[in-house]
């Protein structure tokens, strides 16, 4: 089985731009998670989908971050507008129904200038 895939692997944006990150979960997995990872804050949950329904949209991240899951095999994370403080690694993970372990993609490293 293919693992979680994320594209692009690297993204460089100017402040104020809109960027879209993409994620394909493991086939058949029920849950999908978006995280932001930084050295200072560690792993922060941005969004959580269960069977394509948005269960959590990350509280403090709501205003400029929007995750969508239009079908069970594809999700996007839009950041609009980007700010330099958004520079981080964005990780997508999925998990099978009725299990708690998550399987992570390789991440997208975002740099906002």
């Amino acid at each position: 089985d293919a693992g979680v895939t994320q594209t692009p692997r690297h993204e460089v944006a100017e402040k104020g731009q809109t960027i879209i990150l993409k994620c394909e979960p493991v086939s058949g997995h029920n849950d999908l998670f978006w995280y932001r990872q930084t050295k200072i804050q560690g792993l922060e949950l941005l969004s959580y989908f269960r069977s394509k329904s948005l269960m959590e949209d990350g509280g403090a991240f709501k205003d400029r971050f929007k995750a969508e899951m239009l079908n069970s095999s594809f999700s996007t994370l839009k950041i609009q507008p980007t700010e330099p403080k958004d520079s981080a690694v964005y990780l997508c993970a999925s998990s099978p129904a009725d299990f708690y372990e998550q399987y992570f993609g390789p991440g997208t490293r975002l740099t906002v200038l």
Partner: protein, 112 residues
């Protein structure tokens, strides 16, 4: 609320030596616990998982972990470290619903 503490930000061991990485959790009830490894420029990879049952669980690449309810711990062990084990290790506990709460990670450095 559930939480995970990894008290050691960095651990250095010699290649071939044994390893223990510490993890303390806080959880109301019986926890589900996980260890992940992150190699440079990669995502997190699942090393092992604890679902209620045998307190010692085996993982990939010779790693094992032991659950202790009395100590609220889930320490990771390896008998003989290899240079390729150089990475960051994260402990996690099941949170609300199907979410995980992660620790801050321990960087493992291996002396040749």
């Amino acid at each position: 609320a559930q939480s995970v503490t990894q008290p050691d930000a960095r651990v250095t061991v010699s290649e071939g030596a044994s390893l223990q990485l510490r993890c303390k959790y806080s959880y109301f009830g019986t926890p589900y616990l996980f260890w992940y490894v992150q190699y440079p420029r990669q995502g997190l990879q699942l090393l092992l998982k604890y679902y209620p049952g045998d307190p010692v669980v085996q993982g990939v690449n010779g790693f094992e972990a032991e659950f202790s309810k009395s100590n609220s711990s889930f320490h990771l062990r390896k008998a003989s470290v290899h240079w390729s084990d150089w990475a960051v290790y994260f402990c996690a506990v099941k949170g609300v619903g199907y979410k995980l709460t992660f620790g801050t990670g321990t960087s493992l450095l291996v002396d040749p």
